[in-house]
């Protein structure tokens, strides 16, 4: 039975590249309105899991249900329909370098709506102002900083008012202030638009500041060894690895 609160339901998911199994038998739910953190050490498969969730990599074994629809076995048309309701912010922003910021943001709008040019132009300005980039419409990605590229990427991800926004290492390469600004922006989007947010990160400050639920991927066991609110996981760590991760390698006194 599908819980109406559950946005994404993952069960029995195994990710493998040829004979090499990266993660096995993953099972977790992402609820509507969650800021869901996928955390774990380098090379544990966080980004691979994100690629599977967003449909970029086919599922080896297992099932992903999004809004009660089986995303894994759905036809390409259904998958495209689901993907249109998702926004993704990639590590480097992934803006199209041959287009201005306005053209980048307008692309999904032109593709999937019948809005007039005027409305699209206004929506582009609105999305840019939402991420603090008012007036940068005619700039090319090469003319703005790394943090601004990420914000512009986020504006593009928000273009179609998505129900889920995925973030791949949003804080990577950003200074602490820009990183904090991006965290605030994520919270703002989550709270004001009710968007479900899925964040892949190993930035502890972000994890504790924005995360409402999380999973910890363990590269050694290739499975989920921690599941819950990050603050609760810190208070009651299920194992040594999770504790070490959440305390930057700290030792447990009563371990």
């Amino acid at each position: 039975m599908t819980n109406s609160q559950v946005k994404i339901e993952v069960s029995g998911l195994t990710i493998a590249y040829g004979d090499f199994v990266l993660l096995k038998n993953l099972k977790f739910n992402i609820n509507k309105g969650d800021v869901f953190i996928i955390m774990g050490g380098s090379g544990c498969g966080k980004s691979s899991l994100l690629r599977v969730l967003t449909g970029l990599t086919p599922v080896t074994i297992g099932k992903i249900m999004i809004d009660g629809i089986n995303f894994t076995s759905a036809s390409q048309d259904v998958r495209n329909e689901i993907m249109q309701k998702n926004g993704i912010l990639y590590q480097g922003g992934a803006l199209f370098s041959s287009m201005t910021l306005a053209e980048n943001i307008a692309l999904p709008l032109k593709q999937y709506t019948n809005y007039s040019e005027k409305l699209i132009s206004e929506l582009v300005s609105l999305k840019l102002s939402l991420v603090g980039l008012t007036g940068f419409e005619d700039f090319y990605p090469s003319e703005i900083s790394g943090g601004m590229k990420k914000r512009a990427g986020l504006a593009r991800a928000l273009a179609l008012d998505p129900q889920i926004v995925y973030f791949d290492e949003p804080s990577a390469g950003l200074d602490p202030i820009s990183s904090k600004m991006l965290d605030d922006l994520i919270m703002e989007i989550n709270q004001s638009l009710g968007t479900t947010i899925v964040v892949v990160t190993h930035e502890l400050n972000s994890i504790f500041n924005i995360g409402t639920n999380s999973i910890f991927l363990d590269g050694n066991t290739k499975s989920i060894t921690g599941y819950g609110n990050p603050k609760d996981l810190l208070k009651n760590p299920p194992n040594e690895e999770v504790y070490k991760f959440l305390t930057r390698g700290g030792e447990r006194k009563n371990a």
Binding site: Q84, N86, Y90, A94, S97, S98, L107, N220
Partner: protein, 370 residues
């Protein structure tokens, strides 16, 4: 001897004495390991009381020693070790805690052949799948339903038309010149040097013009397609398109295929003309053929069939170059090295496929009497 040890069965005490800088003597380590193995030692004490200066090479030796004797269930005790040396040694073992990936076993002959066959089949289906996607995109374009920006098409067209005129003109002129020279050497012996004009005119219009344009455009534009799209793959721009549900065959591949397929036949006409001019330069200035004679023989040799055959080759080459460039770009890996590899593969495969297709087309035209 830097690794001094005292044997006291069943234990050995190794004394680290003095400096261990750039210490790289495997024979001393092997000597110690042999002694340990031959004398049934079960405990090794390493005493660092008199250790002077040391660097990473000492850690490597201690690491090797510890790893080897641990496998033989021999205990190791570190005595009077400087804390930093002990810490670094511990760190070396922590880094090593993950087992390395299992080595791939060498497959038996039949399995290797089978593996190769499966791999080849996968490549063929992948290539055909891509071609199918391109054809679907072309179909959508005909129905005005493709997601292709006009500006991308115009940009691609600009890149493979007037920007390529200079290089195509120069190379074709030189090819015409070479063709005339090579022909003249043989024809002169029969006193038939006037036929150099016919040789160059037929050779350039029927096939040489198209082949030269094909090779130039494969190296110039095909490589650029693979590098541009490959870099988009590295920068996750292709992922962004896929997750927006925009077919990359519409958005990235179609404008490039259309631009190159349209422009190459025109470049072939230019190459034909420049090649004939090159041949004329040799005929008029080196072989002393009068201008009006050379012109007359050239005009007589030119015919519409050869001209159209050359243009048809140009169209096919344009499709091959653009498909190869885009295919290797789209399936490029996610690092800088992969972009270089994709670029090379795009050029090589485009040239190979052009030659294969020339053979096939020539055979078909021969059978049809064209």
């Amino acid at each position: 001897m830097k690794l001094k040890f005292v044997e006291d069965k069943p234990k050995i005490t190794l004394f680290l004495d003095g400096d261990y800088i750039n210490f790289d003597d495997q024979s001393e380590l092997q000597n110690l390991l042999d002694t340990v193995q031959n004398n049934k030692i079960n405990l090794i004490k390493i005493n660092a009381a008199n250790l002077g200066h040391w660097d990473s090479t000492l850690i490597v030796v201690l690491y090797e020693l510890t790893k080897q004797v641990h496998n033989q269930r021999i205990e190791i005790v570190y005595e009077k070790f400087p804390p930093n040396l002990k810490r670094l040694l511990d760190l070396a073992f922590m880094v090593d805690r993950k087992p390395s990936l299992p080595q791939k076993e060498e497959l038996p002959f039949l399995e290797t052949i089978g593996d190769w066959g499966i791999c080849l089949w996968k490549k063929i289906t992948k290539g055909l799948g891509f071609l199918g996607q391109c054809m679907k995109s072309f179909g959508r374009w005909l129905k005005a339903d493709a997601i292709m920006r006009r500006v991308d098409f115009l940009f691609a067209l600009q890149d493979c038309t007037y920007k390529a005129v200079g290089i195509v003109s120069l190379v074709s002129f030189m090819v015409g010149l070479i063709l005339a020279f090579v022909g003249a050497v043989q024809l002169k012996t029969f006193g038939a040097q006037i036929y150099v004009a016919s040789l160059v005119a037929i050779g350039m219009t029927r096939i040489m013009g198209a082949i030269m344009v094909g090779i130039i455009m494969a190296g110039r534009t095909g490589a650029s397609y693979a590098a541009t799209i490959g870099t988009m793959q590295v920068n996750e721009e292709i992922d962004a398109l896929k997750t927006m549900g925009i077919p990359i065959s519409d958005f990235l591949v179609l404008p490039r295929i259309l631009a190159l397929s349209l422009s190459v036949p025109f470049l072939v006409i230019l190459a034909d003309f420049m090649g004939i001019i090159g041949g004329a330069a040799v005929g008029i200035f080196m072989l002393d053929i009068p201008v009006n004679e050379y012109y007359r023989y050239t005009i007589n040799a030119l015919n519409l069939t050869n001209f159209w055959v050359g243009l048809f080759h140009g169209l096919v080459f344009g499709i091959i170059i653009s498909v190869c460039g885009c295919y290797f770009g789209v399936f490029c890996g996610r690092n800088a090295d992969s972009v270089g590899k994709a670029t090379t593969e795009a050029v090589v495969s485009a040239i190979v496929w052009m030659i294969v297709m020339t053979g096939i087309i020539t055979f078909i035209f021969e059978v049809l009497g064209i």
